[in-house]
């Protein structure tokens, strides 16, 4: 499948995964891949505290206003409070929104009708989709175990709220989530035991409870396998006619052994994921840096593009 076709399968792509799996990095890589394929992309960030701008080498803090992070890639935040204010302002209730927020009554309402904030965020995403705000709208979903709650909020709210505009909003959000031509979920995980278990669990819950279409699962942070690591450095030195300094052979051997061990462990987890979850996998390499900037995102976007090309069309 070519990357442009992949990005055009549905206008909304919700990127979800537990904390620490690289969800934001993957959102950035998807956006870059879309841009490289000639499409426009809008990344929507819902927590107001992510390294998204930094991933594009920008020191800006994202706000409610769209900003261009790189050619073809725009980003904005959409916190629940923002979504509430906009929702009410659109309906001529500006003062009400102010008072709800300033009095703290919004917390009471949100507790009485859990999921109401999520609905407002997803409702706004639906509006962006309807307005064709970009060829691809990437929603960097909330982290932690919240993804399932976030996406099941619409169904839950229909039980709590029987009439009114919020109910109408929830119904429309459910339609969006249930339509694979409009919306899909891209799950992200790491090739480690607990993240694999969790992504399998999340995938089943999302399919059962939300009926949302799952895109291939992204396995992030795979150590690229390197050939030639199973030789003894001392033999290799003799054959290369190089003299090793004291201690070097040990360091080379330990590092090679570590890499081989990690590659094998990760391979086991990738196999286990394939057995537990009937979804295609997109593999992204571990980058030997601890930070993600524009250069790293480009590397990942290219790797993602390669992986997508490997999918059946």
């Amino acid at each position: 499948m070519d990357p442009a076709g992949f990005c055009r399968q549905a206008r909304v792509l919700i990127v979800a995964g537990k904390g620490g799996v690289g969800k934001t990095t993957v959102s950035a890589a998807v956006a870059r891949m879309a841009a490289m394929a000639g499409l426009t992309c809008l990344i929507v960030e819902v927590e107001g505290k992510s390294g998204l701008a930094a991933a594009f080498g920008s020191s800006e803090t994202l706000t409610y206003e769209e900003v261009e992070l790189s050619p073809g890639v725009k980003a904005r935040t959409l916190t629940p409070d923002d979504a509430l204010v906009e929702y009410l302002e659109d309906r001529g209730m500006r003062r009400l929104s102010r008072r709800l927020l300033s009095s703290g009554a919004v917390d009471v309402v949100a507790t009485a009708a859990p999921g109401i904030k999520d609905i407002l965020v997803l409702g706004k995403v639906k509006q962006l989709e309807r307005a064709a705000a970009a060829d691809l709208v990437v929603l960097d979903a909330p982290a932690a175990g919240h993804a399932v709650t976030f996406l099941t909020s619409a169904a839950g709210l229909l039980d709590a709220v029987r009439v009114g505009p919020i109910r109408a909003q929830a119904t429309e959000v459910l339609e969006l989530l249930g339509d694979p031509q409009r919306c899909q979920v891209l799950l992200v995980t790491l090739p480690e035991e607990t993240p694999v278990n969790e992504v399998v669990e999340t995938a089943y819950k999302l399919e059962d409870r939300v009926g949302v279409r799952l895109a291939p699962v992204v396995v992030n942070g795979l150590y690229p396998a390197v050939a030639g690591l199973d030789v003894d450095p001392r033999d290799a030195a003799v054959r290369s006619e190089v003299h090793l300094r004291p201690g070097e052979a040990e360091a080379l051997e330990e590092a090679a052994c570590f890499r081989r061990g990690r590659v094998a462990l990760q391979g086991e987890q990738v196999d286990r994921l394939a057995q537990s979850l009937a979804l295609a996998q997109l593999h992204l390499p571990f980058l030997f840096t601890t930070e993600v900037g524009a250069e790293e995102v480009d590397v990942l976007a290219a790797a993602l593009g390669e992986a997508v090309r490997g999918l059946p069309g």
Partner: protein, 369 residues
């Protein structure tokens, strides 16, 4: 200087906090193991541990009562998986003036949602449980693992947030329009709530009003309790341990978190750097052990095409990541100085049995030289 071992030996309470996905739960459990190894009666309070770790700790389901874990140590090890809902229920029963009022609250739909929907409630109940266990006096050491929330700071904001929720003026004015001058306010407030009802549906508002009616008069008890919990966390019995990995985003979150802890009057007393890449050759005792990634990369280039090329390229990869980890980490270590820094390397696999926990314990508390 205090070490993490000294904290496990001397303190009554250790709070493990830090960003999500850094391994807090396992480290909290390994810290409780240390307490047991030192002959103390230790209990780890966890929230939503990974399934296999939960099984290893005998935490098949939420029980809210500590279960004992057998092991080869002179002390005792107990574990408890927090049940937010029933912890809150117990608090309501404690502060309700009579059982009828308690039942009215427990049956209210808004109340039933609080545990799952009001951000920070889980954290608040974790501290509440901690306080309760502390008061019971059964344990010498209680280690709490803070939950993987959207925002790690919810842990600190939780009591205030709940108090603010329970004190909500809008709803309280509706339920107690007793004095004449409040009546006018109440009329305006009711108009406000009617408008809100039109948007969110009237059941939502009537549930909320019923909740505040039932809760009337109990906020004081809750507030006092929150103050006591806060006092305990600020006392010298308690220590905060900040856990993070060396990834840049985790370190940045850690820096922010350390700053906010200070704002709240807490000191980070130990910093744990989890899942560090190993430093190869560091133990060989020769000068080359401290070789740089750059030099290794050079040699890999020079030796490309020979059997040594890939070996040097691989070593350079790992030295590069170790160097960057160390550089990120230095800023955080400086911010929490003089707190000791404990470096925990990558383990071969996930911790999901007592053996894994024992291995993690050895990394976290290396035997003194």
């Amino acid at each position: 200087m205090t070490s993490l071992a000294a904290l496990a030996q001397e303190r009554r309470i250790i709070v493990c906090c830090g960003p999500g996905g850094v391994g807090k739960t396992s480290l909290a459990a390994a810290t409780a193991v240390e307490g047991a190894r030192r002959g103390r009666r230790a209990c780890v309070v966890t929230i939503d541990p990974a399934r296999r770790l939960a099984d290893a700790l005998g935490l098949g389901e939420l029980t809210n009562t500590p279960g004992r874990i057998g092991g080869d140590w002179p002390g005792e090890l107990w574990a408890l998986m927090l049940d937010t809902g029933s912890t809150f229920d117990a608090l309501v029963r404690r502060y309700a003036p009579n059982p009828e009022q308690a039942e009215a609250i427990l049956g209210n739909r808004l109340y039933r949602n609080i545990a799952g929907a009001l951000s920070g409630t889980q954290e608040y109940m974790a501290t509440e449980k901690l306080y309760e266990l502390h008061e019971e006096g059964r344990f010498d050491l209680i280690v709490v693992d803070t939950p993987p929330t959207r925002n790690a700071l919810d842990f600190l904001d939780a009591p205030r947030r709940l108090a603010r929720f329970l004190d909500n003026r809008v709803f309280r004015l509706v339920v107690m329009p007793t004095r004449a001058y409040l009546k006018a306010v109440s009329v305006a407030t009711q108009a406000f709530l009617r408008t809100v009802s039109k948007v969110v549906g009237s059941e939502v508002i009537s549930d909320a009003v019923a909740f505040f009616q039932a809760f009337e008069g109990m906020e004081e008890g809750f507030r006092d309790r929150a103050r006591e919990v806060d006092g305990l966390l600020h006392s010298s019995s308690a220590a905060f341990v900040l856990v993070t990995t060396a990834r840049r985003d985790a370190v940045e979150e850690g820096l922010f978190f350390a700053g906010r802890l200070r704002d709240y009057g807490f000191e980070v007393e130990a910093l744990v750097a989890n899942r560090l890449h190993p430093r190869f050759g560091a133990g060989s005792g020769s000068g080359s052990g401290s070789g740089s990634a750059g030099a290794d990369r050079e040699r890999a280039r020079a030796l490309a095409g020979t059997p040594l090329g890939p070996l040097f390229a691989n070593l350079a990869d790992f030295r590069q990541v170790a160097e960057r980890e160390e550089a990120h980490f230095a800023a955080l270590a400086e911010q929490v100085a003089p707190a000791p820094v404990v470096r925990v390397p990558f383990l071969a696999g996930d911790v999901h049995d007592l053996e894994g926990l024992a291995e993690l314990n050895r990394s976290l508390f290396p035997p003194a030289d």
